[in-house]
Amino acid sequence: MTLIHLFVLVPILSALLIPFIGKWFPKLHLGWAALFVPVLLFVCFCTAIPKVAAGGPVFGSVSWSQALDLAFSVHLDGLSLIFTLLITGIGSLVVLYSIFYLSKERESLSHFYAYLLLFMGAMLGVVLSDNMIMLYIFWELTSISSFLLIAFWFRRKKSRYGAQKSFLITVGGGLFMLVGFIMLHVITGTNSIQEIITMGDSIREHALFVPALVLILIGAFTKSAQFPFHIWLPDAMEAPTPVSAYLHSATMVKAGLFLVARFTPIFGGEAVWFWLVSGIGMFTMFWGSFSAVRQKDLKALLAYSTISQLGLIMFLFGMGSAALQGGASTESVIYTKAIFAALFHLVNHSTFKGALFMVVGIVDHEVGTRDIRKLGGLLPFMPVTFTLAVISSFSMAGLPPFNGFLSKEMFFTASLQAGSMNIFSMDTWGPLFPIIAWTGSVFTFVYSMFIVFRTFLGPYRRERLEKTPHEAPLGMLISPIVLCAIIVTLFFVPNGLSHYLLAPAVHSILPSYQGMEGLIPHISAWHGFNPELLMTAGVVVIGALLARMYRAWQDVYELFPASRSLDRGYQWLLTGSEIGSKKVTNLYMTGFLRHYLYYIYGFLIFLTGGTLLFSGGLSLRFSHDVPAAPYEMLLVLIMAAAGVGILFTKSRMTAALLNGILGYSIAIFFVLFRAPDLALTQLVVETVTTVLFLLCFYHLPEWPKEDRSFKVRVPKILISIGMGTLTVLLALSVQGNKLFDSISSYFEDSYDLAGGRNIVNAILGDFRAFDTMLEVVVLFIAGVGVYTLVKLKIPKGADDHERK
């Protein structure tokens, strides 16, 4: 257990505490309590910067289950450090902002902050975990908390729809990723990512290598909203704006990028990896920015813009992976610059997109709408917000003097490199890359201008707005001001960031390049008249023209009508699967208890009986058997008589009593064979069951006249006889087979190992305590299930849908 374990657990534990704090201090805005956590963690992670920058990753591991190779192991290296700082840093700002955004009176703040802290812990878990299964657990936990946060205003239909959509897509992708992880485990025999990295190229020849690669990428693409999985992100914008700023632009959607970066040392250099990551990234970059221009809702516009920017970073990671083709060498060191640029743009994107979301939140909060057609002329009312919008959106457009310019130039460099690449048969399609990159950037420029000019300039029409606009309170402005200050600072002193954060991260993504010359470029704003600068100039000129003449060419979007969109496809798939599964379920859910018993026992007979027959496990050997004593025979006769008697009873009471005879006789058998624990259990269970049965009598209807037709009776008889035969054969075969050495000698040492002389309980409470624990949980679920079934009464006139 290291300090870093605590860093992951602190937010999750404080999420549990939040509701109580809300109860104890009813006057406190819970945000202040929640703010404490990310600020503290941010400071803690900052103190780790010098150590990590000096090249020492921090590692700690807590064993969970060695048999399953599960361990809560954390690995804090350069890459995770960037993410932890983003998560806690942006987290602090977002929590601060939300204090003024969410009203204490109207919103359920304890839910909000509990979910938000849960997410923070899960996200820290994702970026710090070294064990793939732990990573997966935290990964899905981020999806769950994202679902809860999107559905925060759950009374709105659109919120529920958006939450469900994002949940289905990201969790579905997560399942693919899990399968990929399991394949990697099959290949390498370990769950530790760092161990797999040290294995290097030795695993590449395995047949499962490429399938694992593709599956893990699907996980990353769904999470990071890459084409064609991007459709969930715009609908996720139904979440409160602080959530969108935090989860859906700065952190959670970057988990996919993190995954790609984390697995680059393993998969990088593979042609499939290169083509998928850079190709899909590039197309997403273009498609996102192209679609963003047509959006009418500011948040939807930002959503598509996020998709586009994520694609851009994805492309850069793909380009960078080319450096690993054929091992580390001085020729391919130029490709590593793409990795550097990806990390740089990742940080920059978090700053300007976070600020933009907060600006849009302010507009929405103070004006009452974020429809771009209604807004306009807000500059005189909100000068500070306007300034912040200019800084952040110009940074997004890639203009100096803002940090976006620096990383955008690097992006152009990488796309030009892609155009002149001669590996991975890039000489065929490669030249397309700079063209798509440039076109995408033009659209980026266009929508960035829309955000500023259509919102703050142009005609002001009061009648279209819900409230009279005014400047936001200072508290709401602090966070975006901080972000905008970082945007400008990073432009002037980018090399500090590069030295302390980006360089260690590049080292952890490309361990084989450790210490090679030219790995970490010097960032400078002015780099002469080169193609990149010309490309930027072209973007500005053409972009400005397109933005001005938008009306003239907006008909282009008619080519992509909503009826043929991917979104429609998703809805079709959703309703289709709902209808389909309903049909299939109705097919066998007949409502007759006997049918269900047929399925259960029939399946059992089929499967177990089949295995018994075909695996040759059936063995009936009576040679070792001890002769039965007369009283044992007597007991068997009594049981047989009771069993047969049940068939012919006329009342339930008699049946229950005969059943009791069976149970108590078994208890006597346990006594005879010296199993006092079992005998005790059987006796008490039998007693309690009988009481239960008597209680249920009241509710049971009259014993009905049985349907004695041939059609009903034959399957019943078949199933009964089959089940009986199977049980007897199984019991006999258990005696006859000796497949492996008995492990009972281990349990006989129970006094030395567990300090208990009762072997049965030593097994239950110590050796196999996991089973017992889960059994208790199952018992509890069953108890609560019975309680709800009995107590739940649907009030009349309630939603009919629930009862269907």
């Binding site: 969970w64 624990d677 005790l680 008490v684 509710h699 409470g765 208790v776 509890f780 108890g783 309680y787």
Partner: protein
């Protein structure tokens, strides 16, 4: 609706104490002799069930004001949390340990962490059994 069953009530008053004592004995004896959390819990819950059968639910609820759902939940939480306790000492989940202590009155006594775990099991069993029986009997 319940008849005033004098004989059952009188016997129960005595029998319940015997059953309860036996249940506690079974629970404590489980380490070396037949017994343990599950059987102990089941025996204890049968004592409660007997009380509910002999008297009516309202009377007993006055004397034993527990919400048995919470008892069950408490049991589950104890069983799970005692498992994580071992993590703090660097052992794997659900490791148990034991040691001998010289206690006053009892003399040399073995104390084992498994008893905490088993108490969770016992509470879980009591809670679930009584919850089920009460909720079915109340649904009249």
């Amino acid at each position: 609706m319940r008849e005033n069953d004098l004989i059952l009530q009188t016997v129960s008053k005595v029998a319940v104490f015997i059953i309860l004592t036996f249940g506690v004995y079974l629970f404590l004896a489980g380490h070396h002799h037949p017994g343990g959390g599950f059987i102990g819990g089941l025996t204890l819950s049968s004592a409660f069930v007997l009380l509910y059968l002999a008297f009516d639910v309202e009377t007993i609820n006055k004397g034993l004001p527990f919400d048995y759902k919470n008892v069950a939940a408490l049991g589950v939480i104890i069983a799970t949390l005692t498992g994580t306790g071992s993590l703090l000492f660097g052992s794997s989940f659900l490791s148990q340990t034991f040691a001998y202590f010289n206690l006053p009155i009892f003399g040399k006594t073995e104390l084992a962490t498994v008893m905490l775990f088993e108490s969770g099991v016992a509470l879980g069993v009591i809670g679930v059994v009584v919850t089920i029986i009460i909720s079915i009997s109340e649904d009249v």
